[in-house]
Symmetry: C2
Subunit: 489 residues, 2 copies
């Protein structure tokens, strides 16, 4: 049955939550008195639809249904997750919980997006304190995995653990904070950096743009993959963390920060920062900056995925989950031999497209290569077989480009096995968006020994499975375009 989330308070954060739930197949019921809420959430959703599905090498579930509701009691009907993202005023939040808890499922997760309040403050005076916890996300919520989950001693651990399971299910990373603390964890760092940055600007040491460059051309890109401590461990060299600390610990006594003092937030300082920020980024609208940011995040996260590291390792875990759910055949036993084999179903990722949003030439081959990998898995040339020292290498490829496709759109590949005998595996892939043919890929692969890199015969099991599929496909209609050479019909 479709899971239901209630979003209390839209805006950038509530809209981001709505998008994350919807694109993971949940139905989403929104309460937000802002008459602009529909438009605002729609814009976040547009951004999410072009960027999130393509993060994965497997299809997401079908998108859920979004509905808007005039009252909180109506919005929480049937919801197993209620996410509160109303303005940062404690009395308002507490009043909202009174209304929500009078009508919602007592077993539902009641999460708050607050960065400013501790969960014990949110729970004070609540009908069921045990249901309320902090689930603090990071913008854009539809792309960034981190959720700080902060319970208290009063929390029902069963609900907290269910919340963490549901977050993981949507590809997010729940970070359980061990003890509640003002601003949780990440925002404490942001606050420290923000204060230091205000001093640097106030004192005329650097502008907003210079500070941003000092971050993104140096430690920022390091932190994107390893964070603080692992980065320093590497910096310590062969002697490691202890050496690093011996070297840099003393700096604590040096005057390297003005944080012992808080900069006064004068109109003059606000003006200076606003003007510098306009100078730095004013040539882009916020909408454009959001898309630039999302393009960058998707590209970097998918780059980390090829390394199976950091946010990329989370994406890989999610691929396994989504693949298991997608119910595409992974072994010959479950294959329907009376039709072509479906070997790929996925959204076109942002990082596969050019500046006009069209899929790049080389990514067609990447998709065909992924389809070939899946076909190999089906015939028994899977990870275990490859680890034992045999595999198929592509010797030749022939691609015909028929039509174009854009980021976020679903593509699928159907594969015809033209020959599977001896050392050879001859495949013909057809790539579609819906019923529209986009490209064909014809591939000759040769079975090799991974130690000698020379051609060898595959195992008997692989040979027999391949032959069985090739024989079955021979009875199907031979695809148009097979056996063609470049430039000749």
């Amino acid at each position: 049955m479709t899971q239901i989330a209630a979003i209390i308070g839209g805006g950038v954060i509530g809209g981001g939550w709505a998008a994350r739930f919807l694109l993971n197949g949940w139905d989403v019921r929104v309460f937000d008195p802002d008459p602009e809420a529909g438009r605002k959430i729609g814009e976040v959703l547009d951004n999410a639809r072009r960027s999130l599905p393509g993060l994965y090498e497997a299809p997401l579930p079908e998108e859920g249904t979004l509905s808007f509701h005039a009252t909180m009691p109506d919005a929480v009907m049937g919801a197993i997750w209620i996410q509160e993202s109303v303005p940062e005023q404690l009395a308002l939040k507490q009043k909202v919980y009174q209304t929500l808890q009078a009508h919602c499922d007592p077993a539902a997760v009641l999460g708050s997006s607050t960065s400013g309040f501790k969960p014990s403050e949110l729970q004070a005076g609540a009908l069921r304190a045990e249901q309320i916890m902090v689930c603090h996300p990071f913008n854009p919520v539809y792309l960034l995995p981190l959720i700080e989950v902060v319970p208290t001693d009063q929390s029902d651990l069963a609900i907290v653990e269910r919340a963490e399971g549901l977050l993981r299910d949507m590809g997010m990373y729940p970070l359980r904070v061990r003890k509640e603390i003002d601003a949780h964890i990440a925002d404490r760092f942001l606050e420290a950096v923000w204060r230091e940055a205000l001093w640097l600007i106030k004192d005329g040491i650097a502008t907003t743009e210079e500070i941003d460059n000092a971050i993104r051309f140096g430690f920022g890109i390091r932190w994107a993959q390893m964070g603080l401590f692992e980065t320093y461990r590497v910096a310590g060299g062969e002697a490691g963390m202890r050496h690093f600390m011996a070297q840099f610990g003393p700096a604590l006594q040096w005057p390297w920060t003005k944080l012992m003092d808080v900069p006064e937030f004068t109109d003059e300082l606000v003006d200076m920062i606003s003007e510098q920020s306009d100078m730095q980024s004013g040539m882009y609208s916020i909408r454009e900056l959001e898309r630039i940011r999302d393009n960058n995040l998707v590209g970097m996260m998918r780059a980390l995925k090829t390394q199976d590291w950091g946010a990329g390792a989370l994406l890989r875990d999610q691929d396994h989950l989504l693949n298991a759910r997608a119910a595409m055949p992974r072994t010959a036993e479950v294959l329907d031999l009376t039709r072509l084999t479906e070997t790929l179903r996925r959204a076109v990722p942002l990082d596969w497209t050019d500046y006009n949003g069209h899929m790049n030439e080389a990514r067609y081959l990447q998709a065909f290569g992924d389809a070939t990998d899946r076909f190999m898995e089906i015939v028994g040339c899977n990870a275990e077989y490859i680890a034992s020292g045999g595999s198929y290498f592509t010797a030749e490829t022939h691609i015909r480009h028929v039509d174009e496709v854009h980021a976020g759109h679903m593509i699928r590949i159907e594969t015809y096995c033209a020959e599977g005998a001896g050392k050879k595996m001859h495949l013909f892939h057809q790539m579609f968006e819906g019923d529209r043919l986009l490209a064909t890929g014809e591939h000759m692969l040769i079975h090799v020994s991974l130690s000698t890199r020379n051609a060898t015969l595959p195992s008997e099991v692989v040979a027999n499975t391949l032959q069985r599929i090739a024989q079955a496909h021979a009875a199907l209609e031979r695809p148009e375009g097979l056996g063609r050479m470049v430039g000749k019909k």
Copy 2:
């Protein structure tokens, strides 16, 4: 004439500088009394050779010569850049400058890698204060672009500007710090975050791994591309920076940090951090972590390059510079028509390779696509022509994989134009490493109108140039493998 840099003090930072200079064609002379200096710099160089050249879509100049010298006077001979990276002791640094300045070119850049000292402190008592400045890099120096350049009122601005030019020349980003300040700019942020992190660990709020995850799964990856202020500008939504500040300014008065107090650096705290760090990262050696970090950085920086943003925009600028220097033909006028056309020369980037270091299948097509783009440029279908509404689209591709190639190795492509008439352009690329044939790519392209996406004739200039090259190539030996279909000789 080859430029010469002197590296005073090897280690991770000095070695990183050495690698950056060498791979950009400088000769490098090292002074370091450590008997292990040769091995240590060699290891940094190995890392740099596999990661740096492939950042670019154009070849770097030929690597310079590395030499080791027993004395500082010998090391600085002929050097126009002297980089000091000795231990962080002011008296030691000042003594080193005495020796260096007694022997070096008075017009040379004398840069210090110090994070702990201000340039006025370094200049105190120097023979020529005007020559000394801070040039503070970030590890790994061979990949990260940021250099904090900090002069004083005593500095010779001509030398400072020359230093900045030379840094840009090597693809780095000199950030001129407007006024000297303890720890320059970036390390002030690192210090603030480090202090806050020590508190979080000491107080049992989070472990080293949890803190690293709080950074890299949330704000860390955001900062990798936009930094602090631009990120907040986007977060402010349509109302922008002023709105963001109105919303979050007041947090300055909240107890969101313990930075007003400095944590005591006890043995107990050092032990706790070392043990948590071992638990988090102890399964990898420092050498392994360095390679993982470099793979991640290269992947993310190149992902940003496709977006022409942040560190990726710097890489693009460098491509233009390197391409201009590489002297490969970009117009038909300068083309030698008696031989095949060289259309690509570059190192295989880390992000094009699999976990065994072999170039991935789809990246062969990417390289062939880049070669096709260059050939199009040569026949006059350049950026300006494309902006006017015409281009060639690939209709068909035939690739033969002949041999394998690894990250960091130089590949080049030679192109035979088999046909260039009417709407058609028929190319045959051969990819080599040295004289070793790696793959061939045969491509049929069709000229299209970018507005209708339909086939049209190219401009007369393009048609004539293409025809002229095709006629000249017809007189050359027809490449083996042209006109083949998959699986047939």
